[in-house]
Structure formats: structure tokens, C-alpha cells
């Protein structure tokens, strides 16, 4: 292409400056701080049993919450796009609430609801299911904060999908299940995956809503961001930075393949 759209130089300049100021510089500072620790210090922190357990809890709970959100978010988006019912606008607005609510408020509310004495926790406790102060509770909190991502990525794509496409599939002999599996889900797949990735990333870094419901039992319900906070409170900034870099690496490890898959699916259309 010999012709370029005008304004490329200027807009690229603005983008690079902004990204540097907002993302690159803080992250570099984080890495820089962590490098003040020697190699064996890194190993000691990252391979510590408590650290490893926290990473496991963070990772598994985030994955579970993102999976739950991908499924439920798609269902919510489906309802919001495909049906007309009273209160639909209110429901639509409610989806964004987890964005707006201070996460600590959400955390305390969830904890009191799901604790063994809470409205929802008490009946479950009688069945022997504990939610608060277990990984299940962490997952619930992460599902709460990540839900808007899953809904808001799928919703516009679903709106763009004409209902005629479903009618066409039906008239060609597909039953409802085949229509969903072969026509609707493939069209939504990139969006669902994007929602999953965003919800997962949000879950990994989430702190405020989790600390209350998790109970923070070392080795069982302790998450990485909490460890980071603890190191900071002990004025051990380099140690905290090492944990931060570890989380960063972990996010990249999962988000890069997700993005790659997403662009491949997009191209496939």
C-alpha cells in the first residue's frame, strides 16, 4: 500500500507516549524493584510452599470463575438481546454494578450473605456445604467482579447476529441444539473467549472483594495479591515486586494464547 491514512505519525506518537506513561513505566519500575533481589532470593520467594499454594488458589479460582462467567455471561447476554420483558432495562443496568461497587463493599456483602450464618450460607451449611472461607467463596467473589466483562463482550456480537440466521438453520432441518452448536456458538466463540480472558485477568489481580470472603488461611485460601499486600505492610517492597512479576508472567502465559486463538477464530469467519 502506497497510500496511508493521514495522521498516522501523530496518533502513533500519542499512543506510544500514553502507553509508556500508563503501562510501561510502572511495570518497568516493578521489574526494576524486583531485580534488586539476588537470584536465590527470587527462588526462595517463588518456591516457598505458601507462595506456591497462593498461586495455585489464585490461578484455579480465576479459571473457574472465568469459565462460570463465560457460560453465565453468554446466557445473560442472550436473555438481554433476544427477549423483551418488563424490567429488562434494569437488569441490563444491573450487569454493570460489579464495575461500580467498591470491591471491598462487594466483598463484605458477599461474605455476610454466604457465611454459615448468612441468608444464603446458612441453608447450605446445613447441607454441609461451606462457601465463605473456602476456595468456593473466592470463586464466587471473582465471578461477581468478572461477570460484566463476559456479558458486555458477548452482547454486541449477539445483537449483530440476525435472527434470520437461526431461522435459516431451522428451515434447513437443524433442530434447536444443532442450531446452537453449529450456528450460534461458532459465531459467538471469539467474543466468549474474549470475555473469558478479561474475566480471568480481572480475577487474577482482584484483591478487595476476595480478602473478606476467603478468610485468608495460609496454604488454603490465601491469594497472591494478599501475599503482596502482606509483604508491603512489612516494608519488603522487593519481595512484593517479585510476587508481582510472577503474577505478570502468569497472566501473559494465559492471555497470549487466548488472544492468539481469538484472532484465529476471527479470521476464520
Amino acid at each position: 500500500m502506497s497510500r496511508k491514512l493521514p495522521g498516522f505519525g501523530l496518533s502513533l506518537g500519542i499512543v506510544l507516549f500514553w502507553l509508556s506513561a500508563i503501562v510501561v513505566v510502572p511495570l518497568s519500575a516493578l521489574v526494576g524493584k524486583s531485580l534488586s533481589l539476588p537470584w536465590d532470593g527470587w527462588v526462595a520467594i517463588l518456591l516457598d510452599a505458601r507462595t506456591l499454594s497462593a498461586f495455585r488458589v489464585s490461578l484455579l479460582c480465576s479459571l473457574a470463575a472465568a469459565t462460570l462467567n463465560a457460560v453465565m455471561g453468554t446466557v445473560v447476554a442472550w436473555i438481554l438481546v433476544r427477549y423483551e420483558f418488563p424490567g429488562k432495562r434494569i437488569l441490563d443496568a444491573m450487569v454493570d454494578m460489579p464495575f461500580a461497587l467498591p470491591t471491598a463493599v462487594a466483598g463484605i456483602t458477599l461474605t455476610s450473605l454466604w457465611s454459615p450464618h448468612g441468608w444464603l450460607g446458612a441453608p447450605l451449611a446445613e447441607l454441609g456445604i461451606r462457601v465463605a472461607y473456602t476456595p468456593l467463596g473466592i470463586m464466587l467473589a471473582l465471578a461477581f467482579v468478572g461477570l460484566p466483562f463476559a456479558v458486555r463482550t458477548v452482547q454486541p456480537v449477539l445483537e449483530e447476529l440476525p435472527s434470520e440466521v437461526e431461522e435459516a438453520a431451522g428451515l434447513l432441518g437443524a433442530d434447536r441444539l444443532q442450531t446452537i452448536r453449529r450456528v450460534i456458538l461458532p459465531a459467538l466463540r471469539p467474543a466468549i473467549l474474549a470475555g473469558f480472558a478479561l474475566s480471568f485477568a480481572r480475577g487474577l489481580g482482584e484483591y478487595g472483594s476476595v480478602v473478606f470472603i476467603s478468610g485468608n488461611l495460609p496454604g488454603r485460601t490465601e491469594i497472591v495479591p494478599l501475599l503482596v499486600m502482606q509483604r508491603l505492610e512489612e516494608f519488603k517492597a522487593p519481595q512484593a515486586a517479585v510476587l508481582g512479576v510472577g503474577m505478570l508472567a502468569l497472566s501473559f502465559l494465559f492471555l497470549l494464547p487466548a488472544n492468539w486463538l481469538q484472532s484465529r477464530l476471527r479470521r476464520g469467519r
Binding site: 440476525p162 428451515l171 434447513l172 433442530d175
Partner: protein, 351 residues
């Protein structure tokens, strides 16, 4: 397959979309549902397909009640106005869809699917782009893929909703001819919706004119064009000049002096059925002034204004006739209808 429709009614909220529609479509015909937008054509088509359920009335496929059959079971091939292709599938997979979703015991083998889809791709002359995605096709190509996809599961009849509506004139003409040939080759009962009278008259064996949710007229293209059943149908089918007058002594009087005779009557004359002359040739000639003339291919269209009541008229001449008359805007002329279609309250007469 023959389709027969009895007393069909459909409401959308307070809007009465279909009013007592009765219609019989014989096996193997290519039928046009013609009418202005909002006339109920698409609703009728979608109801036949089973995409809408009627409030009352019956649809019979070869005598069997369609209400007992789900859309999938009706054997309908449906082509949507905006194609509704599956965007994440190649052309090949789009066409193969109807074969792949068949229940296991009816589903053809992979080789059969390959050869069946190959045949259809040849039929629509697109076998060279079978691995493209719908986004990479032109409008005409997409429409042909949509048609092949509808034909793949061997439907018993074909329904097309404004099949050429979104295409430009040239492609539309080509596709029209191609669809006619295809229909003659396959002999499948086909029903298409259009608001373009040229398309309906050119393509169809039979034209169903729909207005305000009712069937206004059913007939061959010639019948519908030459003998419109109502003034509304007449006005919808092409340009028309309107004369007010009365019927007296078996003739239509459109002059102001027609004070005797029957009730008020309306007469319609097509532009090519108006004789244009320098002098009055009969009692029924009307004086007019030429306001504008322009060429339309081999014809010349004249815009005239009646001297007696100032109403506008349109006439159509051959280029030769136009040249021989040596017309210029502002000329005073006499206009004589050669063929009048008169609608007089409830009876109508051709004079």
C-alpha cells in the same frame, strides 16, 4: 407440490397483516407475490414457511395440514432477502449444512455430501470459490449461495423473499433470467415476493397481487396487466392516467358536459394507450399542453397538462412518432385514449 391456503388471518398486535387470504398454488408453478410494502407478502411467505403461525385459517401441502408439521418437516427451501448465510462457514459448508444436520439414519455419507454440494456449486456456477467465506463474496454470489443452500436438502418447494431486492439492476436482470431457467430445469413449485412489477410480470407463471393484507388479484402476468381487478391494482401496475366521468349509453364520458348518465366513474389509461395529435380526432379527445418530453430508451415520454381541469397526464410515443409530430414544450395538443378501463362503483367495463 401444490399449496392451498384457506381463510388465513394474522395479526401483529393491533396490525392486521393478513386478512382472509385464500390462495391455491398448483404444482410446479413459479408464482410471484406482488404488492406494495406493508401489503402482507412477506408475512404470507413466512407463514407458509412456518416461521409465523397464523391466528386462523389453514395451509395445506398437497392436501395435508401444515400446522401439524414443524418448519423443519415442511420441506421448505427458503431464501432470505439478506441471504442469512452462516458467516463462519465457507461457501461449501454453507451449502452442505442442510445435509450435515439430517438425522443420522438419513444423513448422506461424506462422499455423497462432497458430490452433492459439488453439483450444486456447478449449478450456481460458483465451484471456483467453494472455500471462500460469505464476507468475501459479492451480493449476487451470496444470493446464489443462499439458493444452493436452500436446494441442498431437496425441498419440496422454494420460497424466496425479495430475492433480488438488495442487488443492482444489472445483476438483478441476470439473476432473474437465471432463476427462470433454473425453475424450468427443476420444475419445483416456487413462490417469490417482490414489490417490482417488472420482475413479477417478467418472471412468473402466475402473479398474486397483495394489498393491505388481502389477495387483490390472481392471474397470469397478461391477465393482471391487461385486466386489473381493482383501481388499486391498476394504479400499482405501472404508470396510469386517471379520468373522472360518467358512464352513459354504454360509453364513458369524461368531459365536463357529462352531466347525464350513471354514477361517477373512474377510467384508467396507460401512457402508451394515449394517442397524441395536433387536432381533435374524436369526441373523446381532450385538449392539453405539453410541459416536458424526455427519451426513455426507444420511447419518448410526454408530460402533459389538461387544459380543461389542469390535471397532469403522461403519454408514451415511439421516437419516430415523436419526431414526425415535431413537438416542443408548450405546444397545444389533443389527447385521445385508445383503450379505457372503466371502474364504475361495483361493475366495471372495458371500452
Amino acid at each position: 407440490m401444490s399449496i392451498s391456503i384457506k381463510g388465513l388471518n394474522k395479526h401483529f398486535g393491533r396490525y392486521h397483516a393478513l386478512r382472509d387470504v385464500d390462495l391455491a398454488i398448483p404444482d410446479g408453478e413459479l408464482v410471484a407475490l406482488l404488492g406494495p410494502s406493508g401489503g402482507g407478502k412477506t408475512t404470507l411467505l413466512r407463514t407458509i414457511a412456518g416461521l409465523e403461525s397464523p391466528d386462523s385459517g389453514q395451509i395445506l401441502f398437497e392436501g395435508r395440514d401444515a400446522a401439524l408439521q414443524r418448519p423443519q418437516e415442511r420441506g421448505v427451501g427458503f431464501v432470505f432477502q439478506h441471504y442469512a448465510l452462516f458467516r463462519h462457514m465457507t461457501v461449501f459448508e454453507n451449502i452442505a449444512f442442510g445435509l450435515r444436520v439430517k438425522p443420522k439414519h438419513e444423513r448422506p455419507s461424506e462422499e455423497e455430501i462432497q458430490s452433492k454440494v459439488g453439483e450444486l456449486l456447478k449449478l450456481i456456477q460458483l465451484d471456483w470459490i467453494s472455500d471462500r467465506y460469505p464476507d468475501q463474496l459479492s451480493g449476487g454470489q451470496r444470493q446464489r449461495v443462499a439458493l444452493a443452500r436452500a436446494l441442498a436438502p431437496k425441498p419440496r418447494f422454494l420460497l424466496l423473499d425479495e430475492p433480488f431486492g438488495a442487488l443492482d439492476t444489472k445483476v438483478r436482470k441476470e439473476l432473474r433470467r437465471w432463476l427462470r431457467e433454473l425453475h424450468d430445469e427443476l420444475g419445483m413449485t416456487s413462490l417469490f415476493v417482490t414489490h417490482d412489477q417488472d420482475e413479477a410480470l417478467e418472471l412468473a407463471d402466475r402473479v398474486v397481487v397483495m394489498m393491505e393484507g388481502r389477495v387483490a388479484q390472481v392471474g397470469t402476468p397478461d391477465e393482471v396487466y391487461d385486466r386489473p381487478a381493482t383501481p388499486e391494482v391498476f394504479q400499482f401496475l405501472g404508470n396510469v392516467n386517471l379520468f373522472h366521468g360518467r358512464v352513459a349509453e354504454g360509453g364513458f364520458l369524461h368531459h365536463a358536459q357529462a352531466t347525464t348518465g350513471t354514477d361517477a366513474a373512474l377510467a384508467f389509461v396507460r401512457p402508451h394507450e394515449l394517442e397524441v395529435e395536433r387536432f381533435a380526432s374524436s369526441d373523446s379527445s381532450v385538449p392539453a399542453v405539453l410541459t416536458h418530453a424526455y427519451a426513455l430508451g426507444p420511447k419518448v415520454r410526454l408530460e402533459l397538462r389538461r387544459k380543461d381541469n389542469g390535471s397532469p397526464m403522461e403519454a408514451e410515443l415511439t421516437r419516430d412518432r415523436y419526431r414526425n409530430l415535431g413537438l416542443v414544450a408548450g405546444d397545444s395538443l389533443w389527447v385521445t385514449p385508445t383503450n379505457l378501463r372503466v371502474f364504475c362503483s361495483d361493475e366495471d367495463v372495458v371500452i
